[in-house]
Subunit: 211 residues, 2 copies
DNA sequence: TAGATTGTTAATCGATTAACAATC
DNA sequence: TAGATTGTTAATCGATTAACAATC
């Protein structure tokens, strides 16, 4: 049955995409069945952790057999919401915004890019991936007309707070924030920060300490 | 004095860049002194945690006074190795590689971009940020000639494992991996993974559960 | 000196791992 | 049935928070 009532900790949630990734690989290699023990060896975690994690969401395995790779893959995909057809827009058509627009993995994971916005007149009308770059003036209208679940914030930190609040007010459900600041928004919008500099500094720390 | 002997946990290390960021902001606003209590309120963490974290590295404060913002900022920067003038190269001159090359924050944090490499003949010779894109054939020669501390892996997962091993063998100290795979390298090279898809899927989970 | 705030120890909380009965 | 492996409870470990003596 599993432990579906208890609140699932973020530690567990952050491991789900990794399980999903490994299961996808197994699937590609036509492996149909896997035990928590074997998966644990491939992933470098304990079998106990895998079973505990999965049982936050349900009992997906079978005693004596293990887990069906395909079934578990789909279940985790479903838990992650990958089959909900979430649509995204990108705010900021600079290098990072374009890179993210062209990142094929996101589409592979079920996310649909619906629009790209910027404030620079030079860019408006240009196309990225067959999607025309629109001016930020058109943002409100666009979001009201189309369903937009996730906004990717690929703009400098100067303007980001205002834009984020605006998007939250428009009913966007999630903000994927690449700007170098922590957003503090008056809303129950979900925010996922990707502070690339922080990550690089963590790497720098590790190098520094080892040598 | 502080607790300099004990191994510092990754949970603590990952919070250091955030402290650094907030202290930098305070500095910009000409705030010279801060208590753990006030910083904790700004950052949304406990004062206890801040004091515990800092004391892994030394006693940077003063009873009755708090912390000197500038001193603490510099100390954390030093712990993170930001003043060591680490040099980086980027492997992969696609959208992501270019975006990272143009990301000014990294230079601001003391990292110097020394080279960009790709395999596509169309790109070789082109310039990104005044740095000529070189063919991967030149990689070994380049790394042997110049000091390269960190390699940024902005290439598809197909080739990444081989390139990573090659870089590790050449003595590069850290790999900042953006490819959609976990590297498993025979070496004591430090690896920091940035799995953007994982981050997006975590956000997707949060949206899905809330609605 | 009195007030403030640190550094550090002790208490609590949560997450991970181990163990094992249930069961396929 | 016997062997394998799950789901789940209990034990352990580590990280966070609280408390307070030290001291500026």
């Amino acid at each position: 049955m599993g432990n579906r009532d208890k609140k699932v900790s973020m530690a567990v949630v952050r491991r789900l995409p990794r399980y999903y990734r490994y299961l996808g690989e197994l699937l590609k290699h036509d492996i149909t069945r896997i035990s928590s023990k074997e998966l644990s060896q491939r992933m470098g975690v304990t079998a106990s952790q895998i079973r505990q994690d999965l049982n936050c969401f349900g009992g997906f395995g079978q005693q004596g057999y293990g887990y069906s790779v395909e079934y578990l893959y789909k279940e985790i995909g479903n838990i992650l919401g990958l089959y909900n057809g979430y649509t995204t827009i990108i705010i900021g058509a600079g290098n990072l915004g374009r890179a993210l627009a062209n990142h094929s993995n996101f589409e592979k994971r079920g996310f649909k890019l619906a629009g790209i916005f910027d404030i620079s007149d030079d860019l408006i009308g240009e196309e990225v991936r067959n999607i025309e770059i629109m001016h930020m003036d058109k943002l409100d209208e666009f979001v009201k007309l189309h369903r937009v679940d996730i906004a990717v914030l690929a703009i400098p930190k100067q303007g980001v707070s205002e834009v984020a609040q605006r998007l939250a007010n428009l009913g966007v459900k999630g903000l994927w924030n690449f700007s170098y600041t922590d957003l503090n928004i008056e809303s129950d919008v979900n925010i996922e920060n990707v502070h690339l500099s922080d990550s690089l500094m963590t790497l720098s720390y590790q190098i520094t300490q080892k040598n």
